[in-house]
Symmetry: C2
Subunit: 309 residues, 2 copies
């Protein structure tokens, strides 16, 4: 049996773990990414945990290392200009980790890693064509076709969050307008909530909330709050329309939603499926499932990184 | 040296030819598709031409047959419910042709065949990630990622013509509204021309034209007709915006335009490149070339079909 070391580098925390072929995490740890002023100190910290907690027997069984990181590029092995990391410019992270641990190492961005995680260990097991959509602070995606990640000629494919959902719509962090991310990210849905609350006079539990989040909207929806349902409906409509266009390109078997909004379960999955089906070209109608990730927790990132190969 | 027989089945004509490894067409012929009331009579007619004109020596060298056909499905080998063909329902065309000619046979839709043709013999030689867009009566596309066609789980991927370019825009033959095809197909551009002519009071050569076509708009543009330029600009804007979204999904090295509008050369290529670049996410800006097909003629379809493998 061969094991993989999965490393998920996030702007705040970095999680890593040893994963067996069945997707069982045998050991895991995490460090605070942002306290390390250089990538080398950061790598030393991972190495320290690795050497202290993983015995020689297990170390020998680890045959490869996978890294998921913001702006991680599969082709170059670099982290390139990641907005959420302290270390600026181009960092040859895969090479440095490979040198440190003496194991073949590959890197890709976090959404691509999540897609691989679902394919190897999760709900996309056995699928060769699917789309992974990660809904968080930003919106990322990983497209799998013919059983392989679509990386694009430069390694930067899969930016569904920056497909224009509404032309001349909300201003996006990328400087353009109407990106899907501005409606379906954690901040996007809060903007939608505030807009709907302002336009409506209807009573809502959300009017009394100190801060509105995906979670408080979900909580209100569970209690039958009509404004909360309207927020999910509005968001699902935009997501469903955009997914329908993506389906016309790659014709996937399923679309898997992870994190953020997707934690609202059927409140978002059902209307998104409905709006997507309503907008699909007839060839695709009724053929594309919208699923929730198998890993709605902190293990997902480690499994995703460990699945890279 | 091994040859391929390429068969391009169109609603009106079917062209076929023997192609060598360098993409030279050694023999070609065509028949009128629509006169054959059954697929078997149609196959017999191709076989008759084949047996009469291709000598035993050359027949022996043909190692495979590729077919491009409307709604041709790579996975099933069938032509499924093709609107432009007389033969209704599901036709196991690849199997029947394979049986008749005793050569391994595969089928796909015409745009996918065109993409393979560009990759094997044309401007996409050496590329592993590109998008082929066929602009004709309809708008088709073939997406190549990791050096392989994206077929989707059901073989129906690559319907860029039915991505929504303008939400609630023009009514499409598919029953939905605002599909790219309604703006960039042969009929789409004529509708645009008529709309612009109605809205403007400016003189134009097109006002005197009996019938407006892509070609007459191109001819007027060559003479500096400002309305003609405006028609190309409007169309390029919509095409460029839609391509920018497609780039965010597959991050191609190039987008290759074939037929119809693309025959207007720089009148359409240059503004489309400009509008696409204006609309691209910064990661992709300046990295994606818009090219014209290497085969702007009747050979393209045969080469495309012959390239299938």
């Amino acid at each position: 049996m061969s094991y993989a070391l999965g490393i998920d580098i996030g702007g705040t925390n970095t999680k890593f773990g040893v994963v067996d072929e069945a997707g069982v995490i045998l050991y895991q740890d995490s460090i605070v990414t942002s306290v390390y002023s250089t990538p080398h100190e950061f790598i030393d910290a991972i190495s320290h945990s690795y050497q202290s907690h993983i015995d020689a027997e297990m170390q020998k069984k680890i045959s490869r290392i996978g890294i998921g990181a913001p702006n991680g590029n599969y082709y170059t092995g670099n982290i390139e200009h990641a907005a959420n990391l302290k270390w600026k410019g181009i960092i040859p992270m895969a090479k440095w980790i490979e040198n440190k641990f003496s194991k073949p190492t590959i890197i890709t961005n976090d959404a691509n890693a999540a897609a691989m995680g679902e394919m190897i260990y999760g709900v996309a097991k056995g699928m060769k064509d699917f789309i992974m959509v990660t809904l968080g602070t930003g919106v990322g995606s990983g497209f799998v076709a013919n059983g392989k990640l679509i990386l694009g000629h430069d390694g930067f494919a899969g930016e569904l969050g920056h497909v224009i959902a509404i032309r001349n719509g909300r201003l996006c962090g990328c400087g353009r307008k109407g990106c899907l991310e501005t409606y379906t990210s954690a901040t996007g849905i809060v903007i939608t909530a505030n807009e709907i609350l302002m336009q409506s006079k209807e009573a809502s539990l959300l009017r009394e909330a100190h801060t509105i989040t995906s979670k408080s909207i979900h909580d209100a929806a569970l209690l039958g709050d009509r404004i909360a349902l309207q927020i999910f409906d509005y968001t699902a409509n935009i997501l469903g329309q955009t997914l329908a266009d993506a389906v016309a390109i790659t014709s996937p078997e399923a679309i898997i939603l992870f994190g953020g909004l997707s934690l609202a379960g059927d409140f978002i999955l059902k209307p998104t499926q409905q709006y997507m089906d309503d907008n699909l070209l007839i060839n695709y109608k009724g053929k594309v499932k919208i699923l929730s990730s198998a890993f709605q927790g902190s293990d997902a990132a480690i499994l995703g990184a460990a699945a890279l190969q």
